[in-house]
Each structure stands twice: as structure tokens, then as C-alpha cells.
Amino acid sequence: MSRFLQVNRITRRFAGADQAALADVSFDLNQREFVTLVGASGSGKTTLLRLLAGLETPDAGEINLEGEMLSRGKQVVVPPEQRNFGFVFQNHALFPHLSVSANVGFGLAKQEDKRQRINELLELVGLEDMENRFPHELSGGEQQRIALVRALAPKPRLLMMDEPFSSLDKALRHELRGETRRLIEQQGITTIMVTHDTDDALAVSDRIVVLKDGGVEQIGAPADIYRTPANRYVASAFGACSFLERDALGARQEQPLIRGVEPSSVAQKELWLRPEDLRLKAPGTDEAIAAGAVSEVFYHGSSQLITLECSGRSGKSFTLKAIRSGDKNVPETGTRFDVVIRPGQAIFKM
């Protein structure tokens, strides 16, 4: 089955740069899918988005949409204005000289129901009273909503969002990412979002493409990315993770350390642990894999992120991060705990 959007071996190198901004990147998109491109700054995620929009030209590779060739090699077959893609810019890029309704209607052809479409969209985001305002008279959240419906107005084949929530504060971004997701789902529009915020990516995506230094590290559903990261980079990018060599634990091979784990995986060399995989118990626990002393505590209200300096049975020292929730008392630095792995929670790597 041919996919909705195909990005085939795209390469882009900027003049004077040692490294390609994008090297041989390929991925596909299904119709109505919400895919997030995640990466640190310089990973090439924004460049990729701009290539898709036709705002940049690739050096090599192809971009196909529903079988239509959009870019091939160094030529943009279809210029940006003919692609019918929606683009939400990082800082919204609302036209300061145009009113809210003129901004929303910018991409609409002069037709009879233009007015109606604008009103309908403004109602969707609850801003129907704002139609005569100018962008600088709106709050950050309102600007973001207008930027979104402006991009949705011409019923784009593909919606692209470049760090849409990065200019908003935390509470607002949580509210807006939910709203944005619902709106896009309701309109049934295929979406690619670029973000460096892995929380946003995990929260809203159907699939995530992790980029690093211009290459794809991993593609997968949020749970896959979180629970079965392809490498240490991906694992640390999506949350705290402790990487342990099994030797450090000094476990005996014949006696599985961790209950509920396939014996085959016990043979693996590395053990990667998310903070919530671990439980801290009072010293003297039977199934403890390690014991250690608290070196740092981050108090989060509902939970505490605790760093333990551990010494394994073989005498090697290592660090573990564990989440402790449901306990009102914050442990003092130096408090000793035994560490237990929750059944079936660790990630094993060769």
C-alpha cells in the first residue's frame, strides 16, 4: 500500500557547513496521522519541515504526496503556494497589518462562503468576538489559535507546525496542545509537528520521528519510543534513564534477579531503567538489585525524583534515578535505600 506522504532519502547541505543539515532521511506518513519530528536544535527538524513545505530545496531525494511528485533532487516541482499545505510558524507569523478575520481569510480565495468559513473557524477556537482585532491586540494563546485556524482555513492536504507551543508558558501549552490535537482530529487533517519538547511529542503524537545530527534515530509510536528506545540518545531524550551494565550489579547468572523477566533477556549485558521502574525499600530487602544512599532529591509535589549513589555487589559504584510517589516525607541526603525493580519493567540491551 502506498503511503500518503513519502519522504525518500532527502539530503540537504547548507553552504559552508561541515555537516549536512539532513542526510538521507526517509519516512512515510499515513493519511490523518499526527507525526512529530523531535530533536535538539541543529538536528535538522525545522529544515525537514521547510523542505516539505517547499520553502527550501533539497540537494537530493524525493518528496511524494499521494503519488504526486513535489520535490525531486534540486528542483522544487511544485512551488509552496501550489502545494496547499498549512504551516503554523514558531512565532505564529500573523500579519500585523491585517485584522484577525483577514489573517484567517488570507489563504481563502474570494468566494461567497469565505465569510462563513472564517466565522466557522473562529467559533471552533472560541474567538468569534475577536474578528476585528489586530494580532498585537491578542494574547499569546489567542495568537496561537488564530495561527492554527489560519493554516486550517484552506483545508490543507497536510498541516505543518514548527514549534507551535514554544512561545507559551507551561499551563497554556498543556491546554493548547490538547485543544490543537482535538481540532486537527476533528478536521481530519494529516499533521507533522516539529518540537524539541519530548513531553509534547509523547502527549499528542500518533508516531514520533527522532532526529539527531541530520539523521533519523528512531521512528515509532510514543509508547515504543519511551519503552523500547533504539539507543541511549533516544532513551535519555524522552525522560530520565539509568544505564547499567549487568556486571555492575554482580548478579548470579543462575538466579534471575528480576522476577517476571524472560530468562533469555536476563542474559543481556545492559539494563536500562526508567525512574518509575524502580522502587525504593528500607534496607534489608531480599530481591534488591542494589543498595545506595540519596545524593539528590527533586521534589515535584505529587512525586519525588531521587538520585541514589549505589555500590553493587561487585563493588562498582553507579547512579540510579528513581521516582517515589505517595510518600509525604522527603528523604534526607544520605538516607539509605534498597532498590527493587518492578516486575517486567526494565529494558535490556545487548
Binding site: 513545505a53 517547499g54 520553502l55 512551488p79 509552496p80 503556494e81 501550489q82 502545494r83 496547499n84 499545505f85 498549512g86 504551516f87 510558524f89 514558531q90 512565532n91 505564529h92 507569523a93 500573523l94 500579519f95 500585523p96 497589518h97 491585517l98 488570507f106 489563504g107 480565495a109 489586530f134 494580532p135 498585537h136 491586540e137 489560519r150 493554516a151 484552506p154
Partner: protein, 505 residues
Amino acid sequence: MVGLRSLGDGGEQWGRIVEYRLWEQLGSTALLIMLVAFFAIGIGVTCAWLVSAYEFRGRKTLEWLLILPLGVPAFVAGAAYLDGFEHLTPAFLWIRQNLGLDAFLFTQKMLPWIGATLVLVVTLYPYVYMSCRAAFAGQQADLIEAARTMGCSPMKAFLRVVLPLARPAMAAGAALVAMETANDYGVVSLFGLNTLTPGVFRAWSEGSLVSAMRLAFMLLALIVFVMILERAQRGRRGFASDTRERPLARLALTPARTMMAWVVIGIPLFLGFGWPVLRFLTWAISSGDFAGWPEYGGAMFNSAWLALFASVFVVLTALWLTAGRKAWQVRGGVGMQSLASLGYAIPSALLAVGVGAIVSDIAGIHGFAWLALSASAVGLVFAYWVRFMAVGIQPVAAAQAGVASDLHAAARTLGATPGRALLKVDMRLLRPALFAAATLCFVDVFKELTLTLVMRPFDFETLATLTFRLSSEGRIPEASLPALVLVAGGMLGVVVMNRMLKRQP
């Protein structure tokens, strides 16, 4: 002050002016301003967009060449064209013979308009060009790209987004063009147009100070009216976006289009700079008549010391109004600064009449009669000081904004008095800006014509007045040498201005 005096009894003189001259002068001024502003915007915006959005061979050179006409005083360019128009006589004869008397009279009537408009447009368009170039350079590529993704071709994006957003810049440039046009005395007199500025001086020389003041006020009202009209039109629209500034990637032009760009840019450049300079150079060389040297030298000396005095006063005031008022924390200093900047918007005619009246009033006080003798020179420097204050304040204020105010504070906490901190810290940091301000002011005074012409002491010539007198007497070849010196002085200003523009973000 001028306002109060203008309410005085105008006498029958005013009645006559209203009856015979007022409406023609008002109408001509308004029409000339509109014509000049319209074409200057067209040329300025087009050239600014070409050098901002496209990449082609020679772009960087053309980018700064385009401001050269600013160094050519309009009346100097006017003199070069006046002569050219005389060569059109055969064409007029042909029109008279073939198209009849009406057509001939019509062209005769149109010609001064075409000439004055052409000269003012090609020497003033750089104001629009410079402000638009700065605006285009700071324009957010995101906004243009947003328009592209919503179905706009590059041309459409220019019309729907770039142009509307550059409007404040266009208006700012056009406002300068309008003010210079309203102020112009040299070009309109050379071409014989009857506008308000010569009208003011005519009324004054006829002895009706009150009428002169009233006319000058109408000129001011006209300028203010145009500005208010533009402001009102803008409404609540915003023009700044907090979108990050990412300069637009320049599109490369094909060789054929590069040629087109050269032609488009080359025409105003040639008309505003190449032709006048070429004309005067040929005259200067072919006439080989340097008998006027002592006269030129004296005029040049006069121009130089007037400009020197005025620019020193201006720069000192600018320093006081920017750094000084911060150092001593003068209240209401901001108001003083903007008030002082207003001088540039006051028509020269109004200023001349006002200062003239003040000087004659003071000289009337017992014991100050000596002032009447040197009055005009003192008054002249004072008038320059008021008029060119903005020229001095602007670069200093801009530099001051860039200097971290912490530096001054640091000097103070380390035990320096305000004065010492000003001398040791602020002045050192502002030195390039102070120098630039002084140069710009010097150049502006050096080539100033309108104020000088009416306020100078009897028999006192500067290079500008000399050039103007010689050209209006039809002795253009003799005027060529002082004209070239004026242009050379203007070039100095252009160089400084270009460096200041480049340093802007």
C-alpha cells in the same frame, strides 16, 4: 511666537495676497508635494526591493551608489537640467508649427512642472530608498513564507504582505521627501513655480511680515495635514511582528533580468547624480574660467565657518539632550529631545520669518542695537541650530540606546561624578556617533540654501547662495565650480550616512 504675530493685522497687503496669490501658491505646493512624493515612493521602493530581495552581479555596489543623489543639492541638479531644457527649443518650435498654439502653450505651462518634479524626485528618492531598504532588511521571512504557503506567488506576497508592512518606512521616507519639497526654494525658483516657500519670502520682501508668517503657517499646516492623514489611515493596524527576524534569502537573477535590474536602478541614479555631475564637470573643464576664484574662496570660507559653528552647537546640544540629561537625570528631558527634533519639520520659511522677527525685536531693545549689525549671522547660526538639531540628535540618540546604561552606572558607583562619568565614559563611547552627527550637520548647513538666502547679511555669499545666484542669472558655467564643491561636500555626508546605515542591525 510666530503664531501670535501672524494673528496681527495683515493690512491690505494680506487681502491682496489672498486675492491674487494664496490659492495658486497653496495648490501648487500641494500638487508638487504629491507629485514628488508619488514618484519618489515608486522609485525608492522599487530600488530598495530589488537590492533587498534579489542577488545579482553588482548588487552591493549599486546598493550604496543609490544614495549618492542625496549628496547633490536639489538646486544644483536643477541648474544642470535648466540648461538641458533650453536645448528643447527646436522641439517647441516643432510643436507650435505642427500642433498649434494651444499645444505649444500647454507644453510651455507643463515644462516647469515636469522639470521641477523630475529634479526633486531624482534627488530626494534616496530618503524613501534608505528607509525602505532598512525595513526590507528587517522584514521577517516567516511572514513572507506564511503567505507563500497560503497560495501567494512571490509577486503576490510582495503586494499583499511586504508592501503593506513597509508602509511606515515608506511614510517616513515620503514625509522627508514632502518636507524637503515644501521647503524647497531653489528648484522652484529656477523653474519658476509659484509655491508657498518663495511666496513667503516674496511677502516678506514686500514688507509684510504678518502676511509672510501667515503663509508660512499654511505651509506648516499643509505638512501636518499630510502626516495626520497618513496616521489616521493606518488605524489600529500593527506593523511590527515579534516573529524572529530572519532575513529573506535572496533570489538569484538570470543575466537577462540582471540587465533589467541595472537599467531600473541606473535610470534614477544617472538622473540624480550622473547627469548633473557630468554636466558641471564638462562646464568647469570647457570654460576653464577660474577668474572667479577669490569670490569662490570667500564664499567657501563663509559656508565653512557657518557650518562649523552650527554643527558644534548642534552636537553639544545633542550630547546634552541624550547623554547629559541621563547623567543628571533631568526631568522632562525626553520631551525636550522630541521637541528639539521637531525643528526639522518646521518649514525653513517659517523658521526664517520667526528668527528674523526675534532678532529685529531684540535689536530694538535699548543697548542691543549692535545685534542688528551682526544680527543676521547670529540669527543664521541660530536658525541652523533649530533646523538641524534633529540631524544631530538622531545618530547620538541611536548610539546612546546601544550603549549599556550599566556602564555609566558602573562609573558612578566607582566614585565618578555625573560630569566625569559623562566625559570619561559616555563621550568616549559616543565619539563615533558625535563625529557622524557633526559631519552630517556640517554638510547640511554647508549646502543649505533657503534659510541662508533670506537671512544672510547683506552682500554675504555662501557657496550655496553663490551657485544659486549664478545659475538663476543663467551663468551656469560659472556656477559649475562652486556646484562641484557643494557636491563634494555632499558626498562626505553620504559616506558618513552610508556607514551609519551599515552599522544598523
